[in-house]
Symmetry: C2
Subunit: 164 residues, 2 copies
DNA sequence: ATGCGATATTTTAAACATAAAATGTTTCTT
DNA sequence: AAGAAACATTTTATGTTTAAAATATCGCAT
């Protein structure tokens, strides 16, 4: 066999294997960072506002859409299952922070909105929440921020294109 | 007031506010990417190997340390609570994939290892798992990979330094 | 009109996660 | 040696998450 061919294919193999390990390492570091930040946010929401992250997230979605969202909209935007939204919404409703009103023309759907109390409470929490995130991620330069956003955008697009 | 001073502080304020929004956007995108990939891995592990991600993660820790790990080691390396490890280990033991043996000199601790069946099964899964991660993250160039790793390292260090 | 498939939501069962209490073991101090 | 403190693990209570089943409604093609 031509030794240059053998050399080429060997290089190819080692490059592939090297890339594999790279990707694994990147994934593990990505996961660690995200989990660290998420845990931090979760702890502070609990200790300072006595609320869980999922409840806060649901309220954040509603705060962006003052006209309200259906349960299905919430499920889609929060990227969690419908049953999950159902449980979280039940609790927030019990606390008086959101309301579920029937939709005039559609007896299947509910329109979920923040109550006045919910709006007030969310405004307080959102300010603190933003600060915590800046504490975690605010040290990056503008260039690093842009680069990171661009890479994550590509990754997101690539992963979304994979069929389960 | 000196107008140049006013201008400076205004710029400062607006820069801060701009950074805030940047950090939030970056956090949301980071979270979305991580969740997408994690969900993909979870689905494939379930559909192709009928195993959950936490169980796979526990086995992965053991595969790296053939001499075995204690429950406490596992808890620390997986960054989850001891009670959680206890439950996952109970199930894996029931499936015959790991074994919990008493440690000779210490009757408090257990030495957890992969069984022969566990080793064989993990080897099959690990190959597929690596491939899935490369599918998700393998498109980055070496430079992008290095840059991303470096940024995440800084972020990890910064977040770890924050006291809860 | 009627019935069938799609839609919107809730309920249920199983797995996972945590914090805190309980259990048993080891080590240190006196 | 006895007691206290620290350690390793499990148990318990509570809550989150998902997939799948159940419930109810809607819209459309016959």
């Amino acid at each position: 066999m031509d030794p240059s061919i053998a050399q080429l294919s060997l290089d190819h193999e080692s490059r592939i294997e090297h890339d594999d390990h790279q990707a694994i390492r990147l994934w593990l570091r990505l996961l660690t960072c995200t989990n660290l930040i998420e845990r931090h946010l979760r702890n502070r929401l609990r200790s300072e506002f006595d609320i869980t992250l999922p409840r806060f997230d649901l309220m954040a979605q509603l705060a962006r859409e003052p006209q309200g969202l259906t349960m299905g909209d919430l499920s889609q935007r929060m990227m969690v299952s419908g049953g999950n939204v159902s449980g979280i919404a039940t609790q927030l409703e019990k606390e008086g922070l959101i309301s579920r009103e029937p939709v005039p023309g559609n007896r299947r759907a509910f329109c979920v909105t923040l109550t006045a109390a919910g709006n007030k409470r969310f405004a307080e929490m959102a300010t603190a929440h933003e600060g915590w995130i800046v504490d975690c991620l605010g040290e990056l330069s503008d260039a690093e921020y842009e680069h990171m956003m661009a890479m994550l955008k590509d990754i997101k697009a690539g992963v979304s294109a994979i069929k389960d």
